[in-house]
């Protein structure tokens, strides 16, 4: 029988962490996140300039990026799900090459 351990309670988490103002988490991560956002923007500009805008991976990235500004939580989880193979059955034959980071129906 599976014995589920409940997630750590909020009270316990608070005891494990010294209090800090909400802006501290922004101070710690904003510049790094800003740089990553600009890298994504520049990448999408670049692939467009090079004529690869319609590559399925770029289309998947643009589609997933919409989650960034929809105001809903768990953006990382939802982006990963959007980029994932949603099918259930094992494949008869392995696709050529390694995983590429985005899924396309019928891609060999």
């Amino acid at each position: 029988m599976v014995s589920k351990t409940p997630p750590t309670s909020k009270a316990r988490r608070l005891r494990q962490r010294a209090p800090m103002p909400p802006t501290a988490i922004v101070d710690q991560g904003f510049v790094a996140a800003r740089a990553m956002l600009l890298d994504v923007a520049a990448f999408l500009d670049r692939v467009e300039r090079y004529g690869a805008k319609s590559d399925f991976r770029c289309e998947a990235m643009r589609s997933a990026a919409k989650f960034l500004s929809d105001g809903k939580p768990e953006r990382a989880r939802r982006i990963l799900e959007r980029l994932s193979d949603p099918t259930r059955a094992p494949l008869a034959v392995a696709p050529r090459g390694a995983a590429c980071g985005a899924w396309k129906k019928g891609r060999k």
């Binding site: 014995s3 494990q16 099918t87 696709p95 985005a102």
Partner: protein, 272 residues
């Protein structure tokens, strides 16, 4: 600070890495069998690799005072050739009694094929027959969600499997909950470009709790960082987490899971 590196492919690393890990507080390193970057051509190639994991590598680590443990299997990346896979699975029992072998791993799926599923099942049956711990690799990138679902369903179909003795590695935000909810342990891998970053790993701890989770670098011959685990301690401290929290995640959690194999010993570290 003390920590355990529960997943590092040290055969691909230099002795400088051993020195750096020990300097950073590493108390033990565990090395699952994996893909060499090319497909091995014969069962003897695997036998030599298993000897390296059970004889040579522990001796190399011992020069730095670092206990070294291993997991044995045929990696899912090489599971497409079922004839070779069957022969390799047949020699694994020769190595299970070696003093540093903790269990069967890292088994799992790579591209989620039927042949990979077959080889995975052979390993699971082997682990059941020999009462071994199991370390599971989940697929990369777009294949991870499907592969994790398949793996969980396959494991849960075996009534003999105790989820508390199985760790599902390389979880991310879209797979961690289903792993924990079904009673398994979850491993978060810290990679510079794929899998998880230190900030995302700490986010997952905040969202899912710190129980039944370990962190690892899975350092190998690719883009990876053998000090990724202690560097994540820095991220925890920046957010105000206590030394006890850091110790629980980086040391006590992996020790709790790994100690289910009586061969796992950490001389000089008390049980608290």
């Amino acid at each position: 600070m003390r920590y355990i590196e529960p997943h590092g492919h040290m055969v691909s690393r230099t002795t400088d890495d051993y020195r750096a890990m020990v300097t950073a507080g590493c108390a033990a390193v565990c090395e699952p069998a994996f893909w060499a970057g090319y497909d091995r051509s014969s069962v003897d190639g695997f036998r030599d690799y298993f000897r390296q994991l059970t004889r040579f590598e522990p001796a190399r680590a011992a020069k730095y005072g670092l206990p070294h443990y291993s997991w044995i299997c045929l990696n899912p990346k090489e599971a497409e050739d079922l004839v070779l896979a069957r022969d390799v699975v047949a020699i694994i029992p020769e190595f299970l009694s070696e003093p540093n072998v903790l269990g069967i791993g890292e088994i799992g799926l790579n591209r989620n094929t039927r042949n990979e599923v077959t080889a995975f099942e052979w390993h699971v049956e082997l682990a059941i027959r020999h009462s071994q711990l199991i370390l599971v690799h989940t697929p990369h990138l777009e294949d991870k969600l499907k592969g994790t679902r398949l793996i969980l369903d396959l494991l849960c179909a075996h009534r003999e499997i105790d989820p508390a003795r199985v760790i599902i590695d390389h979880v991310e935000e879209h797979t961690i909950r289903q792993v924990l909810d079904r009673g398994f342990w979850a491993g978060i891998t810290l990679y510079p470009e794929s899998k998880s970053s230190p900030p995302r790993a700490v986010d997952m701890l905040e969202l899912c709790g710190r129980d039944r989770i370990w962190l690892n670098s899975a350092c190998d011959w690719g883009v990876s960082d053998p000090l990724a685990v202690p560097k994540t301690a820095l991220e925890m401290r920046r957010r105000g987490y206590t030394d006890d929290f850091v110790d629980a995640v980086l040391f006590r959690n992996p020790r709790q899971f790994l100690s289910q194999c009586p061969k796992f010993q950490l001389p000089g570290h008390d049980a608290t």
